[in-house]
Symmetry: C5
Subunit: 366 residues, 5 copies
């Protein structure tokens, strides 16, 4: 399991990536897309809804985002694709989003955070999903601008964990249609945190496999898998820790646009992030213990190898000396002409072997 | 010692488990049982009591939980079995429990926590008991909803550490019958924390056995036992640390339903959780020190093995060379025909052996 | 140096111990003695004193503790022996001590702590002394109940570090006779902390011995001594850290029964506990560094052993081959019949040896 | 990658450095240059600007710094070269800079910090740039004195990351010309932090190279590179951590000279320092995991080597004994004269080899 | 580099030391000298000074310390030698110093701290100097009692880092003569902290030497030097950390006797202690990294040794077997009488050697 950014354009080799250093020295608010190289237009959709009904706008032009018909009270605009700086800028201008906020929206390396003003609340977080085909964690940068009657979400590419939320809006399941955009924001974050649990379960499976392997064999490949697990946990931690802080602030009522009724729900998802973090810490301790077992099993195997070598050597080296001794060609070497010389040597040899075997057994070497 | 969830339905193989990820994208308050696969109906009992007497209701229907005759002032309802979502929902509705609270009640992976509102206090904790037959720590998820005249407890399965508390209610021992449901809640948590000490004592026994083993032998099995001890401590820590925080808040008077007279008792059980935590930290340090001893004893044994090999080799290799030398078949090799050639070689061989033995002894190798 | 509880009744084998789990499920305030198995009656003494004089009561009956003649303003009652639950209960009732406090008094595993009420201040701490005959740290559980005109101390067994304080009361040295029971409490804690320094000095001696040993030899016994030092430090830490917190609260004036004049003295002993803790942390770092040196000296010795083996093998193996070669029995093997064959082989052998010795020296192996 | 101070005067050997200890015992406010030995005059430039235009002063005399024509509202004075104490003192006097501040300006080892008074805000930070030719991080000490209409910057040598900011002033891009000197200070710090990202990317490249190497080979050189990476991260950390604190204080409005409009920008750059720090922590974890892999791959290789030795030895040592045995010269040794003696020995030898190979394969050694 | 207490009286063997445990059970305020055994009288000097001039008193009797002519406003009394308890007590009584303060003055193991009362401020710190002749850090316990018009300093022995301060008073350089005793206290502490930088530079030199050694050789001596460096850093840390806290409190205006004008200077020296601490943390990380390199270089060398052994053994063992084989004395052994038997064996031997050398090279062993 390793971590991957979603859908890089080039299928072979490493995708080119636009790095942070490109923004060096630029005035603040200059939009520069930072992230894996991507192409294609921005894709914009919108929904307006309230108690009375839902209207969907499946395709929207960046220039017309400001003119969505206000059929219903609440508007949710979703933007897929951050690489088209001009489009993002156009959207930002129409919706009165501060240039510094736009800068963070197009910087996919921006860490999760919250910025609260009187007019809007700006939240950055990461979606994490496990890609079964590649065994990789796919991370996506999502920004959320919460206004009084409006919620705008920005994502790197199409595809998100929000479809069940969309269905709940359409079918009027739960409190979504009767609540404000703050509850919608909660529902989206909740869906994202639910996915963290799936990733956590995948990590747990990886740990279980490793633990079974550890009991049967311990080869260098295992160490690489332990390292990969650790790196995956680092990725997860970098996404969850700051999000926990974001939710802590939200559930403490810091954002004026969040209504009092939504706070218990935010506390619930805050509680889930703590659950994720604590489970992760537990995994870290377990993986670290596995590393200790692995390392000592290497040492132990070396001991086994050396024991074999030492037993074989210790038994045969004296015997070899003995036979070499009577292989000497001295003229005057009385034993060689004794009648019982050879049987005597056989007896000596057997005695040596027996004695050594006895000693080895007494020391529990064999 | 390992950790086990109580009574999985399937006796062979790993019990199937309903995982957190099942709740993905569902609206909040949707009840989804998370935990080991279980079947069977919910079992509900109740007691009402006060100074004047006790009435017990050994079997209750989920639909009739709201209509328990109020013979006495205080009502304690206990629910065994969380897998029957419908029953839990029915109970919740009658007793006016918030859907988010019900969601946490049926999620057996929920970490210990406290939620305080004006109407009720909701507490989650874990019971831990040591199963002697399997040498496993059995953990159970228990939820506690404290109302003004009522306490409701939810457990995964039948069987709990509360029987002594029940007897104290029946026989009117101690302050239970003369106090409110907050004191009952204290008594239950106190009984649970008392069990933590039993688990702690089992860990202590495991550590003692390991320490004795360490003095006599140090085989790879030991390392696995150290790892298992560590994992057990992680389980205990995950249960105690958040419970300590819960009790800290309770004993500071944060919950309006907790009466002033109960606070010293809550401080007492809070003190016990600190005791558990500090003892656990001590064990962790000791186990970590044992790991160091184990690892270095492996290294040390390797040294011993190599010393034996080296002593044997160093003594016999020169002798073998010597005898090989006089085993050469050169025609013109004067020593072979000397009269004292063979005795001379014997003397040389004995000199080499003596010298080497002297050197080994001087270097304290033997 | 290891840690021991004082005077176990059974001299051979491990003393039986009454464990915490015995209290499982009991109502709070049920007195249960927890600690090493002991027998015998409780021994009670008392002193009353003030500016005008001292009266001592060398033997007191538990039933009569409440009727000590108030000859002088301040009364100090000392109780030796906690195993007699009935006696402790009797004393507690007469002196109006809360059952929860009594429970902590007879629980010798109770960690150091402070409980402040308007009527009394309850303090738990541990005395530590070094037993020269067994090289063990002996720890004793001491409780102190401070009232307005009265101080009651409870100990596990007779014998304590308070004799010098008693003498200071008798001979009216220092401020004891002119101050209240709060100053007496300070004087007792100060005497206990002074003993911590003695234990610290013993640890320092142990570390010094180990450091010298490390320079000359490094055998597995050392590792056990390092482990024992570490465990001793854990014991000391468990006693000092919470006591430091107790003194911090006392010296901040949290306890209403502590007079303003006593506070500088409490700050002084608080400062001493910090000194103990900092010194201990230093020792921990030093011991941990010693462990690193020990472990690497094992590795280093393995290198030395392997070097000896390799040098011997590398020199003799080619020579042995050489002599084996000319020990072959081929009929047509011209070297064997050369006149200078044998001297030639001698020269070759000497050349090989010289060359190898030169190479070893160049690589600084010898 | 290693860390270097900019442009030391002496190209060979280590540059001489003027150390902190030179200031020992001097009265406070005595200017002593601390840093790498340098010579040459101080170079001073200035810009005055506002909405209406820009005037530049490319060369200024230290004595005339106080008399720059106030053509425009805001003045930015930049001083390159701190080794000329007299010049710095002259400038300081004219601009009313406190001697303690001047002392910190000429101490290039001064850690990043902020000092706020009513008249000025004094900020110290470090620029970091990666020198491609030497693969070294070049660090430079920069001080910034922010007055009401004036900003003074002091650097060690000419060359800085501020040229893009200068161009933005000249071409009136962004808010610089319409804002005060506080915004200029922000722009300079922002440019410096942007450079930290470049350094971070270089570290990331180094880590990637190491990770690939780890997969293919693991030689001692790697360990040195890991160590160098770690030292580089320490340098970066020492620059970023205190700057983060500086920006935290600035963005909380602690400095009266910082206007409310500038605060969101300061929060933005504060956010970037957190990004740098978190990324660095991640790198640290990854590098530490790589060290574990490296160390265990050494152990593993030793196992491989020992396996080869043991296999070879274990196969040949019994064979050598066998042949030595029948190389003995006893007169009465019946096997030697058997007709099938030699074939028998061949069979025995082949049997031994087959058996051993079978055993090795069964144990998965070969 | 190791740490030493200044000038022990006995030149050979370890100096006797008076330990803390001597104070066991004594009433508070009983003066007991704790520190290395010393003899000789106390040496007292004094200066009185103000704007108008300086008067020095090179030798003072302990009994007359209270009667120094008040020629000038500010009086600085310095006491060298703490072993003469009676003298210290006499001085203390005349100057109205609290017995608890005197107790700390004569306890050279007292950690740095500050005690603030309305009448005086009591500060304890440690001077550290590097003794070039013994390569040891010499630490001295200094106490400072700051009154309204008076400063009293106590030291263990004559000799201190304050001579430059004395000269500044005499020659009226800087603000000393025009400021109060609080500024004098600052100047003394500043001089002491300046010396910490010298010690730091010595540590840096030690680290540099070790880093160079690490690149060329890695012998066990190195590990001892690393350990010594670590212990030196522990000593430095124990002196600086608490002093930092002392200066933090002073620079926050906690002490009423410290005037507002002195606070920026105290902040400056506070900043220096942070600098010392951060540099030390950096050194610690670097030294810890060096330890890792050292340990792995030992492992690596073992690998080299084993490789040599394995190559030699693997080449010669089959050859030795081969020659042993044809050294067998079977009557019917056809190869022995073949004409090309011996050349054939030569060819086989060369083939084996070539093959093995090829395999070793392919595996990059040689
Ligand atoms: Mg920028
Ligand atoms: Mg980020
Ligand atoms: Mg997407
Ligand atoms: Mg959720
Ligand atoms: Mg929940
Ligand atoms: Mg490890
Ligand atoms: Mg470890
Ligand atoms: Mg959900
Ligand atoms: Mg949980
Ligand atoms: Mg149950
Ligand atoms: Mg309890
Ligand atoms: Mg208690
Ligand atoms: Mg270790
Ligand atoms: Mg109980
Ligand atoms: Mg305890
Ligand atoms: Mg006692
Ligand atoms: Mg004391
Ligand atoms: Mg003191
Ligand atoms: Mg100075
Ligand atoms: Mg610095
Ligand atoms: Mg520059
Ligand atoms: Mg920036
Ligand atoms: Mg930003
Ligand atoms: Mg490590
Ligand atoms: Mg004392
Ligand atoms: Mg100290
Ligand atoms: Mg001195
Ligand atoms: Mg200074
Ligand atoms: Mg300064
Ligand atoms: Mg290490
Ligand atoms: Mg290590």
């Amino acid at each position: 399991m390793t971590t991957r950014r979603p859908k890089p354009e080039k299928s072979q080799g490493k995708p080119k990536s636009r790095k942070r250093s490109r923004t060096s020295g630029l005035p603040p608010g200059t939009l520069v897309y930072i992230g894996p190289e991507r192409e294609g237009p921005v894709h914009i959709t919108a929904m307006t809804y309230d108690r009375s009904g839902v209207t969907e706008f499946p395709v929207l032009d960046p220039e017309k985002v400001g003119q969505i018909p206000k059929d219903h009270l609440i508007t949710w605009i979703n933007v897929d694709g951050l690489q088209n700086i001009h489009a993002v800028e156009t959207i930002g201008k129409q919706l009165n989003i501060h240039p510094l906020v736009l800068e963070d929206i197009v910087d996919t390396t921006q860490r999760p955070k919250i910025e609260v003003t009187d007019d809007y609340t700006f939240i950055v977080f990461k979606t994490l999903t496990f890609d079964e085909t590649t065994s990789e964690i796919v991370s996506e940068h999502v920004s959320l601008v919460l206004g009084e009657h409006c919620l705008i979400t920005f994502q790197e590419t199409a595809g998100d964990p929000f479809d069940l939320v969309r269905n709940r809006i359409r079918s009027s399941v739960g409190r979504l249609r009767t609540s404000g955009p703050d509850y919608l924001a909660y529902a989206l974050i909740d869906a994202v945190v639910d996915d963290y649990f799936s990733v956590l379960e995948k990590l747990a499976e990886g740990i279980e496999v490793l633990e079974e392997d550890l009991a049967t064999r311990a080869d260098p490949q295992m160490l690489r898998e332990i390292h990969k697990l650790k790196v995956d946990m680092i990725v997860l931690r970098r996404s969850v820790w700051p999000l926990r802080e974001v939710l802590n602030r939200l559930s403490k009522g810091d954002a004026p646009l969040v209504q009092k009724e939504t706070i218990p729900y935010l506390m619930d998802v805050y509680d889930h992030t703590i659950h994720v973090i604590e489970t992760m810490e537990t995994y870290r301790d377990i993986v670290s213990g596995m590393l200790d077992i692995y390392l000592s099993s290497i040492s132990n195997r070396l001991n086994q190898i050396m024991k074999v070598l030492t037993i074989i050597s210790t038994i045969f080296i004296p015997l070899t000396f003995l036979s070499g001794w009577y292989g000497m060609n001295f003229k005057y070497m009385p034993e060689l002409s004794w009648k019982w010389g050879y049987p005597m040597v056989i007896v000596v040899a057997l005695t040596i072997v027996s004695l050594l075997l006895y000693l080895f057994r007494r020391n529990e070497w064999i």
